[in-house]
Symmetry: C2
Subunit: 468 residues, 2 copies
């Protein structure tokens, strides 16, 4: 059949999509940003209350991040059976990326207007639902198209005898989120309290729903005594391949690491501003923002080292199970919060303006605690990831990890962030110590702890080699 010419390898399309999904997931954090401009902080501003009152938005952030990752899982599942792509798949894929890239806008609406019923609520929920439905629809079309043009499918799938049950299973998993979104959309149209609650329930079930359906399908196939070949069952069991998870994680880490450059490139003053505010002294004008550079360096280093730890763990990973993938998502979601915390830090610790306010000392401590707690949580979830991987050692890890001292060195690396941030958290409650300076000192020395760990092991090994 000559119609199936012009087919391309699918890898680059996957890499491009991974990047877009990672960007979309990472900019979900934007609606969290505080609505205060530097140098314009009310004198009775209490950061603690403000951060506390934002808690619905944290949940929405978590939810939207998981939702994007879930959509990305669907994408990943489609391309685990579609090996070759043609123009039509390319266009459909671009269209689905276009729709999903509207999601930060949709969840931004929810962040702002969830509480303002009925009008704002209806608009926010229906916009978001429409985005999910459209994205899902395109993906379903993409899958059906691929099944029609069998030349595009993975050879193992094409040889599959039970193509039909594979198709139905995949379509079911793809439809869960759009159907739930349809429910949410429907109920949001009625302006009564109770229908809106139902709508919200539908809406927030999305991330969870597809998990449940996937498990059901998996169990169903298992009960039918493996009617599907290994390859096909593995599609429902696994979520995304290791290499795609790595690509997605790399995307998130690299964007988070550089997102703050955007902020501080924007701090370059215009010539007029230098003339008016700093007496024409450019050096002074730029110097006044020096803490922003330092905090950028600090967060870049933290993000870089967290990526380094993740890199190490994934190196030993043979295969990524659904549990590990879920924990990895949570880790990435927490990492995505770093630009938010870093922006708080810049406003309340580095900024001399903020010292003039009434609660400046309290606000400083709260800003420090916020950043320390976030890093602690990231460290903790990495630790959890590694513990579970060790628990499922046979299934998940390569044998390389057993070679002494790989496992111990990895463990030491993983422990550095939780330990350091735990100690720092304690210090912020200690009176008499200038927490700000300790904080700066510890952040500056953390990278050296990694070096230290490395050198201790190197020396130990050298001594051993000599002894032998």
């Amino acid at each position: 059949m000559s119609a199936v010419q012009h087919i391309f390898r699918g890898e680059r399309l996957q890499a491009f999509s991974d990047a877009v999904f990672a960007i979309v997931a990472t900019i979900m954090v934007i609606p969290l940003k505080l609505n205060i401009k530097e140098g314009d902080i009310p004198s009775d501003y209490i950061l603690h209350d403000h951060l506390y009152n934002l808690y619905p938005r944290y949940l929405i952030y978590l939810f939207s991040f998981v939702l994007v990752v879930d959509t990305w899982y669907s994408h990943s599942r489609i391309f685990s059976i579609v090996e070759q792509v043609d123009d039509v798949i390319m266009w459909l894929n671009l269209l689905s990326l276009l729709f999903i890239s509207f999601l930060p806008y949709g969840t931004g609406l929810i962040s702002h207007f969830q509480a303002s019923r009925p009008e704002g609520f209806e608009l926010a929920v229906s916009t978001c639902s429409a985005i999910i439905i459209l994205t899902g629809l395109i993906m379903v079309v993409m899958l059906l198209y691929a099944f029609r043009k069998q030349a595009l499918l993975h050879p193992e799938v094409a040889d599959n005898t039970d193509m039909r049950s594979l198709k139905i299973g995949l379509l079911t998993t793809l439809s869960v989120n759009p159907l739930l979104a349809l429910g949410a959309l429907f109920f949001s149209l009625f302006h009564t309290e109770s229908t809106q609650i139902i709508s919200l329930v539908f809406f927030y079930c999305m991330g969870l729903g597809s998990l449940v359906v996937r498990t059901v399908i998996h169990l169903y196939h298992r009960r039918k005594c493996y009617s599907l070949p290994d390859f096909a069952t593995s599609i429902f069991r696994t979520v995304a391949s290791k290499s795609r998870t790595e690509a997605f994680s790399d995307g998130v880490f690299s964007i988070v690491a550089t997102l703050i450059v955007l902020d501080f490139t924007a701090t370059i003053p215009t010539s007029e501003a230098v003339r008016n505010n700093h007496g024409g002294n450019l050096r002074y004008a730029l110097g006044s923002t020096r803490f922003i550079y330092l905090s950028y360096v600090a967060s870049f280093c933290i993000v870089g080292l967290l990526w380094f730890v993740q890199y190490g763990m994934f190196h030993f990973l043979k295969k990524i199970t659904p549990t590990l993938s879920f924990i990895n998502t949570i880790t990435l979601c927490l990492v995505g919060g770093i630009p938010f915390v870093s922006s708080i830090y810049v406003i309340f610790i580095s900024n001399e303006e903020s010292l003039k306010t009434m609660y400046s000392v309290d606000n400083q401590l709260v800003a420090m605690r916020a950043s320390v707690v976030l890093v602690f949580l990231v460290g903790l979830s990495q630790l959890l990831f590694w513990s579970i991987a060790l628990y499922q050692k046979r299934e998940c890890l390569s044998e390389e990890v057993d070679r002494y001292p790989a496992e111990i060195l990895m463990f030491v690396k993983i422990m550095i962030f939780p330990t350091v941030s735990g100690i720092l958290f304690g210090i912020t409650f200690t009176e008499g110590i200038s927490a700000k300076h300790v904080y700066g000192f510890v952040i500056a020395t953390t990278p050296f702890l990694f070096l230290l760990a490395k050198f201790v092991f190197l020396i130990q090994e050298c001594m051993k080699t000599r002894a032998v």
Copy 2:
């Protein structure tokens, strides 16, 4: 030797670095952004003059983009001989990424203060030079470290008899930019007119300098009758492998496609703004920004289809030559300008406020022409890329391209954007036609031209198959 344990595959480190370099290159466009807020346009604002006066900034943008790409080439060259990485390489790499990510800030300073001599000039040039020097230094250290630990090197390099001349050659290419930057830094310290011009000459030689040096080294090795094995000479001849060029391009395209989401997620009004400006009507408040969504959709589609064309060309590419790589860089640089043009479009075409100004019609036409010209240039550079690839067919392209109708279909795809934008440019000069509506119509129909081209070829092929 037991010290060289814990070495990892280098691919993921490269992928992460590609992403960071792509982000850094893409956000170079930010200092270009117009300093006007929507709804706050002076009544005698003439967009044409404003865009015209920005021309030094376009050059700086072009220069900084090329500079980042050049640094990325160096990175790519290092990792064409370093196959495995250990912790030290990882840390050095992160450090070099940290330094390079300051470059948008540095070139932003140059954009703003190049004209304000002597103080602003000195600060801007010296900041930028320092960034280049530090990045280069780290890369040199990285290379020397890799040469010391030969277990990290590519097996073909390790077997290389003439390791020394390879090392010297690589170090020379790595040092060109930092040395030029050192020159620029040195001369910028003197506050006389002539030294500052010398400083600028040094500075702007950077992108070009490394090209010259690479050619010299290549010719030198050639004269010595291939004293280096093929693998090593290819390091100096090629710039970056095809797969890394693809990864970098994917990064740029995906960020450009989604960068505008950042802008329009920021347009979500607060509850107070809705109450004060739109009489509490949220639907109306969101509706007032509907053109922003449309222009986002338009630019996403344009970027997506440009990526699609590039994808197609790279599919047939066997190998990327320095010339092709250079043209690809120019294409990417132009693509990076799309968010800038799109922001102008949003302000001057979509925005009802801008219609109240004196020169609103002229400004609209200029905004249209700016976007059309940019797309035309991107299309043109893709056409140039393909023409050169066809010219060097034997060296560059796979045989697949000879199979009718692959070549013709590719050519049609490449021609769509230059043709459409050329016609649109003409239309903006035609009186009597509502240019704005034609413009919108053409943008909305362009994706269908791609579909049309595809279907024409499909039908033709089907008919042929039947005739046979």
